[in-house]
């Protein structure tokens, strides 16, 4: 057992990867439904392993894994002060994101079993799904900045291939894929350029080591700007959000759910860069305000654009942008007061808790909403809200799940969205009341737009063409029900999550010394 725990950081990556390499070989001989179950089992195993690691990390501190060293914990070679190998460093924040990835990808695979049945090329689909999951794990767990770039690239290529997966039916998925590919190529190359800037100055690639020698020269400033901009873009913040609706609306529904988690992995990287890599060496007020402004713009423009959409998945994608704004707002407030211990203690930490708790909540309810949208698409064959109507008569489970998700995203108590939004409102109010008021306004508009969806898709009389619509298959219902249960649980007992998962994550971000000393030894 302890052996598994020692090697868990490697195994959680290597197991899905090995499965991904085996799936094409298996798929050559066996084209039945078994593939989906196989993938679900593998992802379930990695979910278990993540939970195991979470248990360990939350009680014993960060987990270090040195790839290729003679021992997993031996970070520095004797006589040298820099690490020479790739190191995985999983702290509270990393494992928090890891849990989200694990849950979302597992449920996505379960949902796909029925949802993707009729498509050709399924073994490729499942391979790409596994690879995307692996890449997200890698982005979240790695402590090496070049390794982060590699995983970022895997994530973008796998997402592009999955977004364009249905391009045999129509041209739009290919278009969305192209746009996302160009955008993420820019992002990856800029990240690589920033890696080069760091390497050229300090001759190290380990993030903790860079953080310990960071001097914030002119070149570091440029690297910071490149990283912040492109990672904010990958997270989908306004005004670099335009790829988001395209990509989210054209991908298959379970992939859209995972893409939400993937863009949150970029968000995680943004926080990691600003907090762990630079911390107070950077001009926290300016960068904090930049992030806050990006967040407020995302919230407001996202939600107002959502109101006028007619395509259900596009509408939800704009909501994803708007919810990303909340996270940026919460964490940005934390960043802006990072250099001010009094303010940090009184509301900064709370704001960050709100923002980070919102990441998890958003992944859950937005995942649920995209899955319900997928369920509607599965039965009706359209995403256009104008052509839907009266579906509540036949799809009662889906309706219930949609109500839960919509209530959660709109911040209606007692669901989880309310808990995190409340924390954000109250702590941001102490920082700047105007921001808080905008956030509340956005919440109201969110509710309004979901009322529109609910009304036009579910309410009303049975339409002619949907007389014979049935409830969706079991595996899809199971996936949606699991997410709904998580939402209700988080809503009823938010303190359990906040105290046990979110608070350690926030402290891991704020406390840079812990991050560096885990690699470099005591300070």
């Amino acid at each position: 057992m302890s052996g598994i725990l020692t090697h868990a950081p490697a195994l959680v990556i290597a197991l899905p990867l090995l499965a991904a390499f085996l799936v094409p070989i298996i798929g050559r001989f066996n084209r039945s439904k078994g593939l989906g179950w196989f993938v679900s089992i593998i992802l379930g195993l990695s979910l278990l392993m993540t939970l195991l690691m979470a248990n360990h990390i939350l009680s014993n501190g960060p987990l270090i894994y040195v790839f290729g060293g003679s021992e997993p914990g031996l970070t520095l070679p004797s006589g040298y002060t820099v690490p020479i190998r790739i190191i995985f460093q999983i702290d509270g924040m990393g494992i928090f994101m890891g849990i989200i990835t694990a849950v979302v990808s597992f449920l996505g695979a379960v949902y796909s079993i029925s949802f993707m049945e009729q498509h050709s090329g399924l073994e490729k689909y499942y391979t790409l799904l596994l690879l995307l999951t692996t890449a997200m794990y890698g982005m979240e767990f790695t402590g090496d900045i070049f390794n982060f770039f590699v995983f970022l690239e895997i994530a973008s290529i796998a997402s592009v291939a999955l977004i364009a997966f249905r391009s045999n039916l129509s041209g739009e998925p290919a278009e969305a894929g192209f746009k996302y590919m160009v955008v993420s190529s820019i992002a990856a190359l800029m990240v690589l350029f920033a890696v080069g800037l760091f390497y050229g100055q300090y001759d190290v690639l380990n993030m903790a080591t860079i953080a310990s020698v960071m001097q914030f020269t002119q070149l570091d400033k440029i690297a910071l700007i490149l990283l912040v901009t492109v990672l904010a873009m990958k997270a989908g913040s306004v005004p670099m959000h335009m790829w988001t609706p395209d990509a989210y609306s054209e991908a298959p529904a379970p992939i859209t759910m995972i893409l939400v988690a993937a863009s949150q992995a970029s968000l995680y990287a943004l926080f990691r860069v600003t907090f762990s890599l630079y911390n107070i060496t950077l001009n926290t007020v300016v960068i904090g305000w930049i992030i806050i402004i990006l967040g407020v713009l995302s919230m407001f423009i996202g939600v107002t654009m959502a109101i006028i959409q007619k395509d259900i998945k596009r509408l939800m994608a704009y909501h994803a942008i708007s919810q990303t704004g909340y996270m940026l707002l919460g964490v940005g407030v934390g960043l802006a007061v990072l250099a001010n211990p009094v303010a940090l203690e009184s509301f900064g930490i709370k704001a960050m808790e709100g923002g980070i708790f919102h990441i998890m909540n958003h992944a859950m309810y937005k995942g649920l909403l995209f899955l319900t949208a997928g369920a509607l698409f599965y039965r009706t064959g359209t995403r256009d809200l104008n052509k839907m109507g009266g579906l509540a008569h036949n799809m009662s489970y889906t309706t219930v799940f949609f109500i839960i998700g919509a209530a959660a995203i709109a911040g209606i108590p007692p669901f989880n969205g309310f808990a995190s939004k409340l924390i954000i409102y109250e702590s941001v109010y102490q920082f700047n009341p105007l921001l808080s008021i905008i956030a509340m306004l956005v919440s109201i508009l969110t509710l309004a737009s979901f009322v529109k969806v609910f009304h036009s898709a579910f309410l009303g009389p049975k339409l002619e063409q949907y007389q014979k619509v049935e409830e969706v298959p079991k595996s899809m219902v199971v996936a949606m029900a699991t997410l709904a249960c998580i939402i209700v649980f988080f809503g009823l007992f938010p303190d359990v999550i906040v105290d046990n998962l979110v608070h350690p994550a926030v402290m891991a971000l704020i406390n840079q010394v812990n991050y560096t000393s885990a690699i470099l030894g005591g300070m």
């Binding site: 090329g121 690879l131 290529i157 796998a158 291939a161 364009a164 002119q218």
Partner: protein, 88 residues
Amino acid sequence: MKKSVFGFAFLFFVAFLLLSAFGMRPFGEPSFSEMDDYYIENAQAETGANNVVTTIVFDYRGFDTLGEATVLFTAVVGIVALFREVAK
């Protein structure tokens, strides 16, 4: 209108990067090289391969290489999936 805005932004961007290029350390004189000196001195004894670059690629940073091979694999699967009905 939009084009000129983007054009100015582009010019600013390149100008800033150029400034930083002039602010770079002189070409050919790395300031720190502790990690690389470790590789050059110890790679042959630790792994037995003469080519230090290959040693880094496959041993010290082998995990990156796994990722890189995975990128290629992903791209191939993606391309085959894209053309799955165009080219038999």
